[in-house]
């Protein structure tokens, strides 16, 4: 190695001791962009010594390890034809032990592999990044990185620097280069010449590679300063002897052999790609997304969700947590404690041997006693933080969302979600909808729906408004869906289907209108479909835990705020006035008890909180099944939460935001009114 280091100039600005990561590749493959993605900061641009060729380098942490990342000039081979190519080759040769990453254009796989082969011949461990995979997909020139990796024996990662795809996997692999086993078959004359050159180079092991030998045979003048001076004449002699034995110029013969080798590799990669599919897993995986059989399967999945979340979670678990733990213990003890601290004459009548938030007390209280009552009611009154907010959040909603998250975790971990996406996208497509815009939302039931999404995928203002509307109307966040499922549990399949029908119908109706208004471009939805796998318990538990924590942080504070609001309204005697104001809509239109307007009020803060309020009413027998479905549908279609509303105003402008909110308000209550009306007609008939 000493020879090499002495004879070659390292770029002056690049410290020598640091581990390097070299990016090497053909021109115009997105190498610079990729370099930018990998490094971001501390970029140095310098001229390679003795040239006008600019070299970009930067220190960066790659998969936890520090590297000096160097972007070499684009090159088509390691026998340089230009100054740029010479610099690229020189940096490569003067960085022994560096992690080499070849960047290639996926659509141009032959050219890419031609360079790979030469790096392999130089016996350098490297990784291959197939960049511009987005373009390759569009042009139907996709290459399976797994098959290619198997064929050439080094890590291969498909990326898109432009879209920032798969850069993390790239980083992970970048520091784990491997020696490729690919090689070309040269004519005997060349193979023998290679052997002779390697014998001469025996003393300098870093130079003794097939790659160097082939460069010498190709007549590479620029290589001379790397080679031991005393051997130069001998190399010339070997080359002339070899040339005498082949008809074409040596360099041409070499390139030709390399091209043949590349075609052989591509043939092998193609074979690996089309492995026969036979196992049960594959069969089952295909069934779940079959254009016909996928649908009964999906119905089955929904039915299981309903059983698990609605019947088990909401029925059994909530009953235990709410009735036993909270009503009989937590609330009782808190009430007793508060009564002990904040004294004023009152009594909590025991219902079934257990005291609750309701109480009877004296009409006239001293100022101190009034103060005590304020504090008492704040914590344990009918709108108390403990008796309402925490009971709803912890005793009712939490068990429900935990069961729901568990179910959802199974779906995620089994690999069913992408299949579901394919199924739904097929349906959306037939209706001319852009599945790409809403599917991840519908499936992910993410929070904070519209803000981030719309800016990214959708181009026109019209599209944005429609998607905003669609999401606010039809897509509940995960916690909300959990509570809604819980309420559907006791209703029976028939009424539960009414809710499903109306909600899904709304998504399709708005989506269909959207497709009419915004024609063209039904976006495609490209997914790698992972194999179906048996979900792992530990994975699911981790997901449930993470989501639960998120839920507690996100929802509980708003529950408390909502309760305080109700409490204040009640304290100022505004609540009954508000209920009376809303009575024509809630009681007259929807046929619900006046008390239900509380649920809609807090439902505006967070839909699941409102749903929990309805759920409490349902459990107390204040809502019959028909009323439950009506109330549930209205609250589902309602704006998800006040945050969502504010985002709408901010992102879409006050006027548009208010218009959307107004439409949603009218639509949700209008549908509720229609349902109530229809149920009455059916009832009378």
């Amino acid at each position: 190695m000493s020879q090499l280091a002495a004879s070659c100039h390292r770029p002056a600005t690049l410290p020598g001791a640091e581990p390097r990561l070299l990016l090497i590749g053909n021109p115009n493959v997105g190498k610079s962009l990729l370099f930018g993605c990998l490094t971001k900061r501390y970029v140095t641009v310098s001229n390679y010594p003795g040239t006008t060729v600019e070299i970009t380098s930067a220190r960066a942490t790659i998969a936890g390890e520090s590297r000096l990342v160097i972007d070499t000039p684009g090159t088509n081979g390691l026998v340089p034809q230009s100054d740029d190519e010479r610099v690229a080759r020189d940096i490569l040769l003067s960085s022994p032990g560096a992690d080499v990453m070849q960047v290639g254009d996926m659509s141009n796989i032959r050219r890419t592999l031609l360079l790979s082969l030469q790096i392999a011949e130089h016996e350098m461990p490297f990784t291959l990044c197939l960049n511009m995979s987005d373009e390759a997909k569009q042009r139907d020139a996709e290459v399976d990185p797994v098959a290619l990796a198997a064929a050439i024996g080094i890590p291969v990662v498909a990326t898109s620097a432009l879209r920032r795809w798969n850069l993390e996997r790239l980083k992970r692999e970048a520091i784990r280069p491997a020696r490729s086993r690919i090689s070309a078959e040269y004519p005997a004359a060349i193979e023998e010449a290679i052997a002779e050159i390697l014998e001469v180079l025996d003393g300098s092991p870093d130079l003794a590679t097939r790659g160097i030998a082939l460069s010498i045979l190709s007549g590479d003048e620029t290589l001379k300063r790397f080679l031991p001076e005393e051997s130069l004449d001998e190399f010339d002699a070997i080359r002339e002897r070899a040339q005498a034995r082949v008809t074409q110029p040596l360099s041409w013969t070499i390139v030709n052999a390399r091209l043949n080798a590349v075609d052989r590799i591509l043939g092998r990669a193609a074979v690996v790609q089309s492995l026969p599919r036979s196992s049960f897993r594959e069969w089952f995986g295909a069934l779940t997304m079959h254009p016909v059989w996928g649908w009964p399967f999906l119905l089955g999945v929904l039915y299981i969700a309903w059983l698990f979340v609605g019947k088990f979670g909401a029925g059994i678990v909530v009953n235990f947590v709410e009735n036993t733990i909270f009503q009989q213990h937590v609330n009782v003890w808190t009430i007793k404690l508060v009564d002990f601290v904040a004294r004023f004459p009152h009594q909590h009548p025991a219902v079934g041997g257990v005291i609750g938030a309701a109480y009877v007390g004296a009409a006239h209280l001293s100022t101190a006693q009034q103060f005590a009552r304020f504090f008492h009611d704040l914590l344990v009154g009918p709108y108390g933080v403990v008796t309402m907010a925490l009971t709803y959040a912890i005793a009712i909603v939490l068990p429900v969302v935990i069961t729901f998250f568990t179910f959802f975790g199974v779906l995620e971990d089994s690999g069913y979600l992408p299949r579901l996406a394919v199924m739904l996208n097929r349906l959306f497509r037939r209706m001319g909808l852009n599945g790409k815009a809403v599917l991840p939302m519908v499936l992910g039931l993410g929070c904070d729906t519209m803000a981030t999404l719309t800016t990214r995928i959708l181009e026109t203002k019209k599209e944005m408004v429609i998607v905003t509307l669609l999401l606010a109307l039809g897509v509940p966040c995960s916690a909300q869906l959990g509570v809604i499922m819980a309420m559907l549990g006791p209703l029976g399949i028939g009424l539960a289907s009414v809710w499903v029908g109306v909600t899904v119908g709304t998504i399709f109706l708005v989506g269909w209108l959207a497709a009419k208004l915004v024609p063209g471009k039904a976006g495609d939805f490209i997914l790698e479909i992972p194999p179906i796998r048996t979900p792992k318990l530990s994975n699911i538990l981790i997901k449930v835990l993470a989501r639960t924590e998120w839920y507690l942080k996100e929802a509980v504070p708003l529950f408390v705020v909502g309760t305080l609001l109700l409490y204040l309204l009640d304290f100022l005697h505004l609540l009954t006035k508000l209920q009376r104001l809303l009575a024509p809509i809630v009681v007259g239109g929807l046929g619900l008890p006046a008390q239900a307007s509380n649920a809609f009020l807090i439902g505006f803060l967070r839909r699941d909180y409102g749903a929990a309020g309805l759920y409490a009413m349902q459990k107390a027998g204040a809502l019959n099944p028909v009323q439950t479905v009506v109330a549930l549908t209205v609250i589902t279609l309602f704006i998800p939460c006040v945050a969502n509303f504010l985002v709408m105003l901010k992102e879409r402008g006050t006027k548009t935001g208010l218009a959307i909110a107004g439409f949603i308000f009218v639509y949700s209550f209008g549908i509720g009114w229609l349902m109530n009306f229809a149920f009455h007609l059916v009832h009378m008939a």
């Binding site: 795809w165 993390e168 971990d413 991840p440 993470a546 504010l646």
Partner: protein, 66 residues
Amino acid sequence: MSDFDLHVCPLCSLDFNGAVCHSTCPFAKGCRMIRCPRCGFEFVDEGMMVSLVRRLFRSSHERTSA
């Protein structure tokens, strides 16, 4: 979080890091939602509780294996 805070999208199998919910949502300050940069799927980052459990398991595992 480190440079190597890797997520795998459950919907499209992309792995990536970053892409935390940078929303205008007024409640999103501490939001642990992650969104996949390719398909937009949202899921929840592992929070405190998970890392706590992980640590617990790791230390007990180390103890038993030691």
